[in-house]
Amino acid sequence: MLASATSRTVAKSAASAARARLAAASTIPQRRSYHENIVEHYENPRNVGSLNKNDNDVGTGLVGAPACGDVMKLQIRVNDDGTIAESKFKTFGCGSAIASSSVATEWIKGKSVDEVLAIKNTDIAQHLKLPPVKLHCSMLAEDAIRAAVGDWKEKQKKKGEKAAA
């Protein structure tokens, strides 16, 4: 699914509504499902959208797993002091992929570009209680963070070289 930035209101009760639906679904005998954390991020993904990739303070990470058809774009806007001011994502993929990238954008806000490199896919997977077959989605989110940071750092390096020349 494409989590896009068209108009949508994030209802405060949406979280509890999702939990209620999940509870209802699990009253079907032995019906397993995604954990409510995943469902919550799937229904109400955080920070969906785009930043201008040409801006100098923006780093863009575009990662994909062609095998399963997932694509993640994660962008960061970085302050002068190297902390992440805001983050946006767009993901084409399964519920776990959307949830993983949504979580990623939440976690990296306010942290420094080096701090976020310490975020491991296992942390994301554990927070979301991803089913074992979906661990690679959290790996993709980790890759997306690194790619975004890498892109921003590359831009800073080029800026530095230009200034020196």
Partner: protein
Amino acid sequence: MKMGSSLSSSVVAYGIAIIAISTSTIHGLESKRYASLARSNMAFAVPPSRRQQQVHSSSFSPSSLCMSAEVVPPGTTSNVKTSDDDGKTWWKEYKFKDADFFEKVRQEFPILSIKVGGDGSNDGAEEEESMKELIYLDSAATSHKPLYVTDALTSYYNKINSNVHRGAHSLSRLATSKYEKARDSIAKFVNAYSRNEIVFTSGATESLNLVASSYARSKLTKGDEIIITEMEHHSNIVPWQIVAQQTGATLKYVPLNVETGEFDIETLDSLLTSNTKIVSFQHVSNVLGTINPVSDIVTLVRSKASPDCKIVLDACQSVPHMPVNVQELGVDFLAASGHKMCGPTGIGFLWAHENTLNDMPPYMGGGEMIDDVEMEKSTYAPSPARFEAGTPAIAQSIGLGAAVDYLMNIGMDRIHAYEKELAYYLRRRLCEVDGVKVLGPNEDVPTAALVSFVCDYVHASDLSTFLDMEGVAVRAGHHCCQPLHKAVGHSHSARASLYIYNNKEDIDKFIEHLQDTLSFFGSLEGDNDGDGSDEEFVPFI
């Protein structure tokens, strides 16, 4: 002497087998007998040909090769009861014609009784309870193996294991005999003219690469043309891309007819020139289930392409499921994989005319494929040895021989008829699920018993995860057909594929759990309209 005692036990077991066979019904061995055959470890003592005479009553008949245009929904007249309501429950009373026989076949696959799905989130008894019965719908990826085949493998390693060809001792002679018997079985399976037309490979991918590397690379030059199709598996695309790069030949694609999901034979007509030297295509699409009209394609190619044009057939999804007769098909090369037809992994074969093979340079060099070796140069053995360098996959070849014997014992016509029923039932039920879009031809076109589908509001990967939570094994992704998925406009799909051990209940449970999954996702809120409004955001990488 160990050898002597095993021989005598084989003789005794042979005797039992003869008695058993003489009491068999004309419709095939009962599974009890299969079990006893397997247990007595005489997998090789009964000459397969004898069983075939009993059971495999029809020789290959051309009419069974290509699907006729007319589809007679199986089980129509007496089996289908229209219900009182609007007919939506037509499937409840539906029964496959040969269901009873194939229920017995199902008993011969031990893996079907396992339970799957425990993710370690529960402990002990709760974990046990949370495991689900396996409903395996991924046979296009790989098939399960009957006890007959797994026993053949174990028996080889425990009683026969020895290197083949040129062995100076009894065990080696026995291994060689079994190995070459397996080659004979495969030759019979596809109705090859001679055993020398069967080359053992590691699978269809190697077979196709062998043709590309050995035949095409040595014969093609700049200006020559290779034609493949948009619906091909990557193993029937990439080798030709490499050959085209290496030789300067031009690679052309027959596009998929997206409307009908079928081979666009008119476009093939327009692409063929007198420079066309290779035409390679799938017999059956592993994504769409489309059965390509081989005879029509062959006739067209012979009339328009270069006289020395070779036709290569990827028969991975046809050979396990229907009678395939190379002498009737008229192709020049045929590739197939053993693990898709109840055989072990790591084995497959390439069929081609002996003359063609003997005219090809070697693919790999080493022992077995040579005649004389001197320091400056070597001469090469004739086919099939020429393409079987090194110690072969002996156990796997014997396992494949056993698999082929097993299938011939049931009868490929019988398997084909059953699968036509499976295909009809699966497609019809799936088309009736709201929200599901089935890829491929319309319901009224005969297809293989496999179907790929997408859903507007659920990612294929979510579908497969949720189905997996209920024990249903399907595949999600591009199924090694990225150009095909690009052509149909979906980057990935979910696929359910069936084989001889699937039954109506499997399909019913699959549909039920699919419907549950779709209801769950349908009930979720969230802005998942998938309008793809961001032009820069391309879901294909």
